[in-house]
Amino acid sequence: MNPQSGPLGVLEDDKDQHSASGILGPSIHSENPQERIQARRLRIAARLEARRREALGEYLDGKKESEEDQSKSYKQKEESRLKLAKLLLCGTELVTNIQVATDIREIHRRVEEEELKRQRLEKLENEVKTSHDKFDEITAKWKEGKEKKIPQELWEMLNTQQEHCAGLIEDKNKLINELQQELKIKDDQYVKDLKKQSDDISLLLERMEEQVKSVMKTFRQELNHIEKAFEVERQELLVSNKKKWERALQAHNAKELEYLTNRLRKVEEYERQLSKQRVWDFEEYNMIKIKLEQDVQILEQQLQQMKATYQLNQEKLQYNYQVLKKRDEESTVIKSQQKRKINRLHDALNNLRLRYAKQIKQFQEDNQSLTSEYKRLVIQYKELQKSMRHFTLIDDEKFREIWLMNEEEAKDLISRAFNIDRIIHTHHLGLPWTAPDFWFLKNVGPISQRQRKSATRILEEVLMQTEEEEEEEASEASESYLDLPKRVSAKTTRKILMLLCDESGFLIESKLLSLLLPLEKDECYLLRLDAIFSALGIENEDDLYKLVNFFLKYQAHHLPSSQERASLALSLDSGKQLDLQGEEEESPKEEEPPPSPRLIHPNDVLKILEAFVMGLRKPRDTRAPVKLLKEVRDSSKDSEYWKALATVVSQATQNLWDGLYLALEKYHLVLTQRAKLLAENSALEQQNTELQVLLQRYLHSKVNSELQIPPIQVFQMPTKPSKP
């Protein structure tokens, strides 16, 4: 609130206060001085405020107008609030005034008391001083008195002393009396004060009560005022609202009337329209009725027809129904039969299942046993193969040996024949002898165009060899190496093949792979390589070695190290070409250490393969027909050979020889006869000699000497003539 609203409230409040004070508040004519003071104060306050109000009067008017537009109740509330605040302030002030008044009285009393106390103390001090002086005087005199010897003087002096003492005591008593007087006065005053204070307290109580009462009263009044204000406001509001309501009601009524007349008019109009419509409708109705009756007749006819057809249909349907029923029955019978059958079949199925299971078990067992047998057989077979290989080797060897032996024999014979022939020719016939020159004569060993081994076989061998190599030592292996290309060691080959096998798995069919899984490692490799080779088109040994060498060559080519290596590889290549044509002519000079297959990077394998396949394409076509030959060693040439050997001596010569033989036989007979004769001759000669010896001996024996006639003499004569 602005300060200007204050005085307004104050004014009214003061008026109120005045009226209240007329009844309850302090009056100037009161007995209590405090109350009178209060009353005077209030009067002065009222005057002061009246003056102030006059000064502010005009401004307040304007203010009032501005307040008009605020609601009455709000104004009333503000007014009441200010009034009540004022009242409370005044009331509390009124009540506390007593306390303040008492306080100031107390202060005054204290000041006075202090003053009095000070005076009293001063007085007492003075008194103490004077009495002390007097007492000193008296005590001094006592000393004097002691010196006095004369009783009269002493008595006199004692008298005076007594007087002095009495004076002193009188002074003191006076003082005491004074003080007691003061005390009495104080007591009286205390009693008065007490009374006053009790008066004050009763006044205080009275005022408090009054205050409470007046406050209650004014509060109630203000409440009433506020309520009244609210009431008035409400009344006004009600009146205005009622007016508004009435106006609205009137307007509403007028409109209602208007609507009513409009409605009546419309009703008449509609009625007219309705009657017209009715007539028209009636006519139309008749027409429609006639038409509809006709329709009904037609429809009845149709209905009859429909009924007939319906009857027909019904019968048909019934028949159908019967048929279906029967069928149904049949089908149920069949169903039951089928069910039974199903049951039976189920039983059978179960039995079969059982049997099947049993059989599976059995078969499994069989299978196991068979597999084990198979394994055993495989092992046996391997062993057999091994032994077979062994035997073939041995057989070959034997064959060779036998061949050589026979050949030698034959050649011996032939040479003897030739010698004989030559001797015959030269000695007997005297003809110059030319030795016949036959190709087979130069042949040594069995005639075999060394058959090309199939690639797989070689593989197998390589693998087997390497295996065996580890088991058995080199003794046996060295022989078998003879079959291999000499420059490339079996190990290297094997490694290259392994590499190939690992890297080109894509060439193998997946089925095969799955089949390969359970097999042993070596077999697995073998089969894999087989598959790979078949895919690559490698069929025989040569191709394989070509491949191996291609690998090595490629490796050499791609070695970035030196040119020499490349050239060396080229030479190796040429060597390889030679090797392809005839393996017999291989020269040991080319037996250089092959570049280690370790250097072949797995990633390069594919490139190499590609290059190799491209390279292999060309020679393949030309060689295709040859490849099927020489599967088995053919013995056709053998017989030829042997026949040739047999017919090394021609028929003419034989004939010659036959003639010669006959002649020579005759000659021989002659010779033999001659020889016989010669022998006879010689035997006779010998007999002769022996007899001569004997004779000699006889002659020279002692007996002879003893004899008169030595026989020697006798014989000497005959012997001489026998000698030719």
Partner: protein, 506 residues
């Protein structure tokens, strides 16, 4: 009294309950009950009286029984036979003293039992068992005609126990009364008593006829009685037992001694003082301590204040109406800086300028104190100026009472300077000083710059009416502003300052 049965209408119950409450206050006018109850009940009432009369042997009980019967009557009108529960409850009520059954009952029956319990049951039974306010209300109303519920935390039970305890202490005569009388109560009231307000401590009876015989009291020569025999009741044990105690309001004196007055009756001995100091120190929950009208002089004040230094909870200290001088004031100043004191009252003591100066020194940097009362001392201008200087730096004090301190113009000049600077002060009282017209003008100037002061008492201080009136106007404005600020008109209920013009005391 029987409770309302299920068949009865709620209206009847209400009327009966009302009649009961009326009866308790209206001095048991027997006619009131039936008048309130309906017609048929009255007719039934005539059937009951015979057993009633047989029940009531003494008059007090009879009256109570009568009261009951009327209410019973209301019940009986419709339920001819009392229910078993009613009978049981009656029995419980009758034997409550020997066999208190309350907590086991269902709530509605508990209420009935409580409504019918007699108020003279021994406290040992009821104290910790009954929490119901209405029962304690009945007890209080019966014992004391006027009870201020607001003074006791709005709890009737607390009212009862606090007043009961105060009563016991008031009538305790050391050496004669058995201390067990109070200490026995301790376990019962320990949780309910928060405030002890004793305005009388009886001295020990020395020669029984002596203090009460009229002849010797006049002589006034009893000043030299031996001190130790005059010791009052020692609060130590009691306060140590009350763990909820927050307020202690003591007056060492005797009330209504009449013509038996002796100075000895109003003696606050050193031993009392020491024991009180020890008690205060031990009581950590104490918030308000008042020791008024007990002739506390400087030394005793120092003893007490020393025990209050660094007290954890103390917020208000009132030592008004004692004999405290400058040394005591200095101790109080020390307490200001060593505690969380919010209200300090040294009204009506003998504090002079040095004491006021030390208080001012403590006040200058204090941040706790809200109210300082130095009414009716004698601090004079020197002390007043010191306080005014302190107020220039203080940012906490809201109420300052310097009434009746012989202040004059120089202080007023300084205070007017303070008024234009300080924004925390709400109330200043300078009544009953010699401020004079010039001082009043200066204060008016100071007021013109102040927007916070709501009360400024300058009554009876030689200020001209005009300036006092104008100051009143300024205060009015400030009050309106404060009201606008808080939008709470309750400010108007407590103004105490002077508004209207006042005549000086002369």
């Amino acid at each position: 009294m029987l409770p309302v049965t299920s068949t009865q209408e709620p209206v009847a119950a209400a009327t009966s309950a009302r009649s009961r409450s009326f009866l308790s206050t209206q001095d048991r006018s027997t006619t009131a009950g039936p008048a309130l109850s309906s017609g048929p009940k009255v007719s039934k009432a005539s059937t009951i009286p015979p057993p009633v009369k047989s029940k009531g042997p003494n008059s007090g009980a009879l009256v109570r029984q009568m009261r009951r019967i009327i209410a019973e009557d209301a019940e009986w009108s419709l339920a001819t036979v009392p229910l078993l529960t009613e009978l049981c409850i009656q029995h419980i009520v009758k034997n409550f003293k020997n066999n208190p059954i309350l907590k086991k009952l269902p709530p509605q029956h508990q209420q009935k039992v409580l409504n019918h319990l007699p108020t003279d049951l021994p406290l040992a039974v009821t104290a910790n068992l009954i929490d119901d306010e209405s029962y304690w209300h009945r007890c209080c109303v019966q014992r004391w005609p006027v009870c201020h519920l607001d003074f006791h935390g709005s709890s009737w039970k607390r009212v009862f126990f606090e007043r009961h305890l105060e009563n016991l202490i008031k009538h305790f005569i050391p050496g004669t009364t058995d201390p067990a009388v109070i200490l026995d109560l301790l376990p019962l009231c320990r949780t309910y008593v928060r405030r002890i307000r004793v305005d009388q401590f009886l001295p020990p009876v020395q020669l029984p006829p002596q203090p009460y015989s009229g002849e010797q009291s006049d002589s006034g020569s009893e000043g030299e009685m031996d001190e130790p025999t005059m010791d009052h009741y020692q609060l130590g044990d009691l306060v140590a037992g009350l763990n909820q105690l927050e307020e202690l309001d003591l007056v060492y004196g005797v009330k209504d001694c009449g013509m038996n007055f002796e100075w000895n009756l109003f003696l606050f001995t050193y031993r009392d003082c020491h024991s009180l100091a020890a008690t205060l120190k031990a009581c950590h929950t104490l918030k308000i301590f008042r020791l008024t009208r007990s002739k506390v002089d400087d030394d005793k004040a120092r003893i007490l204040i020393r025990s209050l230094l660094d007290h954890p909870a103390l917020e208000e200290l009132d030592l008004s109406h004692n004999l405290i001088g400058d040394r005591g004031a200095r101790a109080a100043a020390k307490l200001l800086s060593h505690s969380r004191l919010r209200v300090l009252s040294l009204a009506n003591n003998q504090v002079r300028a040095p004491g006021a100066q030390s208080l001012a020194h403590a006040l200058a940097h204090n941040t706790n104190l809200l109210s300082l009362n130095l009414r009716l001392n004698c601090i004079e201008d020197e002390g007043g100026q010191a306080l005014a200087h302190a107020l220039q730096t203080n940012k906490c004090l809201t109420t300052l009472h310097l009434g009746g301190n012989e202040l004059s113009e120089p202080t007023a000049t300084l205070i007017s300077q303070v008024l234009s600077v300080n924004t925390t002060l709400i109330s200043i009282n300078l009544s009953c000083n010699h401020i004079g017209p010039d001082g009043g003008k200066q204060l008016l100037e100071g007021m013109s710059d102040n927007k916070t002061l709501l009360q400024f008492d300058l009554r009876l201080s030689d200020v001209t009416q005009e300036s006092e009136y104008l100051i009143g106007q300024a205060l009015c404005t400030n009050r309106e502003e404060a009201r606008q600020r808080t939008l709470n008109p309750s400010h108007f209920l407590s103004p105490l300052t002077a508004k209207g013009p006042e005549n000086p005391a002369g």
